[in-house]
Amino acid sequence: MQDLMASGMASLLSPMVLSFALGLVAALARSSLSFPDAVAKGMSLYLLFAIGFKGGVSVSTHGLEGTLIGSIIGGVLLSFIIPFVAYGLLRSITRLSALDAAAVAGHYGSISIVTFVTAISVLVSAGITSEGYMVAVAAAMEAPAILSALWLAARSGGAGQMDGELWREVLLNGSIVLLLGAFAIGTVTGEKGMADIESFIVSPFKGVLCLFLLDMGLVAGRGLRQARGLITAPLLLFAIAMPLIGAALALPIAMMLGLSVGGVTLFMVLAASASYIAVPAAMRVALPEANPTIYLTLALGLTFPFNLTLGIPLYLAAAQFAAGG
């Protein structure tokens, strides 16, 4: 137990989490600190490429494991199911309209790639290995929740539309293409490829992640400041309870799949995180009458900081307890 607490504290006091906290505090205090958009975009491209490439190299080293397909199917199923749980919870404890609840629910079924990247970094710092193919599971879990959200919206009388163009935009959004593309490059080039570019994608990784999380802290803080009047106690409760529920749903599936402690942690993180990049854009097109301030504030302003500070150490502790790591 003491080990788990120590590992949790180490994660909380890591440069990544503290950088995020700095950004959050700076934004809440109305500091002028900001990153140019192009720099933030460049850092996110770097992180996606690095994490995808490393995942690919890991697969090339250890070979394709039998759990790969099972993990992807499990992840997709979770992504479909979680919005229904989120929708039920929202409708029972908050006063959100059915349409807003459906839109929010879609975000919680999808994933936050930054939370995933941070969790990998925490695992690496703790010396815990994980399945490289979890990158592919993350990519597979981006989109299914959108379908569940649209079905929920249609059931409640909202006219959600998902045309071919929107499907193309969701499935080929830049993050997914880069993540899977880098994963493929890593798989093909393997250890030799890694040796060639290691100095670029391994050593600077944590420093770039710190700066990126500092920027994310600023973004989350600004969002919270602008949406102060919107956050009610039931919404706050939802934003904290839902990731825990998602992680709890993921844990038995990950255990059944036979994932390692690192893999179980990442699977829980994926189920616990909420999208604030791909799904909001899809919702603006498909469910334009849903209020974007609500779903962005919940996913980015509340659940993302919760997962980053308390969630990841908690999921790691649960995975270590359950998988006996």
């Binding site: 900001s34 990153f35 958009d37 933030a40 996110s44 163009e165 935009e169 920027d215 994310m216 600023l218 973004v219 600004r222 602008q226 949406a227 604030y276 990049i277 909001p280 854009a281 899809a282 919702m283 603006r284 097109v285 334009p288 009458e289 209020n291 974007p292 301030t293 962005l296 980015l300």
Partner: protein, 103 residues
């Protein structure tokens, strides 16, 4: 110098809808338009700023087109079909252009 009367239509629209709008305008016979980034603003959906946004869902753009007066109705009908349920502003104003054959 000789100038010609024209209409300037400015449509401020959510970024995810940009391509759908410009495709609809092209299909409605609009021969040219200009897309400008929007830094921020305030309206029925509250205050908003482009600064530091990570999701394209909260970005906005201004699509500006200048057309002959007789083309305005067709353009607005095409734009309305795309914009109807979305956050945005559509305005039409008079302007003068030098080369009428280009519009």
């Amino acid at each position: 110098m000789q100038t010609h009367r024209a209409k300037r239509v400015e449509i401020i629209i959510e970024l995810p809808m940009e391509r759908r709008l410009t495709d609809a305008l092209t299909a409605a016979g609009v021969t040219g338009f200009t897309v400008l980034p929007v830094l921020g603003g305030s309206g029925r959906s509250g205050r908003w700023s482009r600064e530091g946004q990570v999701s394209a869902a909260v970005g906005m753009v201004a699509v500006i087109c200048i057309v002959r007066p007789d083309k305005v109705d067709g353009l607005l009908e095409a734009a309305f079909r795309v914009l109807e349920k979305h956050i945005g502003v559509v305005s039409v104003s008079d302007c003068d252009v030098l080369r009428a054959e280009r519009f």
